[in-house]
Symmetry: C2
């Protein structure tokens, strides 16, 4: 049985791989994400490689092995199902669930996670729009793109918010850009680095490109919940 610490490292390596597919995950990226020193990460990388959970090469970084990916996907599944459960069943705000889930993900049994999954109707995504891996390790890969890259005059739906920071999520809340929101890009102002938006509610606002890069959208008119299954 892996320790909570091992689970945290594996999860972080998986997230690193997902944000830059095909590349090795750097020691420093893991250190920054977990709030530990680079030396600690190097030490753990060797432990994980020893256990056959990652393929580690000094100075180059690590990739997950099949066994490591399997484990990491289970941790991610637990995390995201717990987040959704906290919102749906316990009335948490989606900006508050991350830290609670961070601790619970190491304490819940597979059995409890499956009950939660069942109770929530086997959901595909968590409150942030992040896809929830199935018990078998399958992840839905929705057809979404960053809002920052969308040209003017397109109709979109907010699908996912990448930043888990509570402050950012509260800003999303007050501007009304939560997942599910319909919106239209009125104009791109490349000079100012902003996008002018009109929401489904009729409200108009401008968002900066850095923020827009963290908001993933689906093109409306595409297949509504157009989702491919990939063994990822």
């Amino acid at each position: 049985m892996p320790t909570a610490t091992v689970e945290d490292y594996l999860k972080q390596i998986l997230i690193g791989e997902q944000s830059a597919p095909g590349e090795r995950v750097a020691t420093g990226a893991v250190a920054a994400a977990l709030g530990v020193t680079p030396g600690s990460v190097t030490a753990m990388m060797k432990t994980l490689a020893e256990a056959g959970l990652v393929d580690y090469e000094a100075y180059a970084g690590a990739t997950l092995s099949a066994a490591g990916r399997r484990l990491a996907l289970h941790v991610l599944r637990r995390h995201r199902l717990i987040e959704l459960f906290l919102v749906e069943v316990l009335g948490y705000d989606w900006s508050e669930v991350h830290d609670e889930a961070e601790r619970l993900e190491h304490a819940v049994s597979e059995r409890l996670v499956d009950r939660i999954d069942e109770m929530l109707g086997r959901p595909a995504v968590d409150p942030h729009g992040d896809p929830i891996p199935t018990a078998a390790g399958q992840v839905a890969v929705p057809a979404v793109v960053p809002l920052a890259g969308v040209p003017a005059r397109r109709s979109l739906r907010v699908a996912r918010v990448l930043d888990q920071d509570a402050g950012f999520l509260r800003w999303i809340d007050v501007t009304g850009l939560a997942p599910g929101t319909l919106l239209h890009v009125l104009d791109r102002d490349e000079a100012a680095g902003t996008l002018a938006l009109e929401l489904g509610s009729g409200a108009r606002l401008a968002v900066g490109l850095p923020a827009a890069a963290k908001i993933l959208v689906a093109l409306e008119g595409d297949q509504p919940s157009g989702v491919k299954r990939a063994r990822q």
Copy 2:
């Protein structure tokens, strides 16, 4: 912030104090309950005494300090609320909740526990009939006695089952002696060491005194949920 291990030791010392009020809790009792060696307990006792959480005297055992009791009661509160939550909200059987709660009690925030408490309507007891401490550290002390000590010809209600062993709890289930059950003691057979019972359902059965010692009952006719509050 105390570690999960410290919380486990404090909780166990509290349970030891409750089952033998006024006495110091022995090193060996804690070791047996937690499944560690006596040497580990001695080491931890010193750590806890150092931190002002217990009053420890070598070869005599430990008692909780005010700070230690406060902490231990919070752990017990978390444990019991989680047990009830698993039964009421997630459909667990009461014979299965103990191990799950054992891990979750160290991972839930005070905030989450309070939400659960609120959602369950600030319950007084968990599925086993064990009283749930309030957030302020108050514990209800119901007027209950072991079934083993009740004379014949009394009407009773099962209030609490002391043994958390899943096998014992399943036996309670199949015999129909779960908390809340009304029953009547038809006869005490001192020679055989059994009690003849008639349940509210009309079923008759005999239970041995060792089992009856682990079942606490309230005398029917007393104030129905006659409960005193004690700062314990």
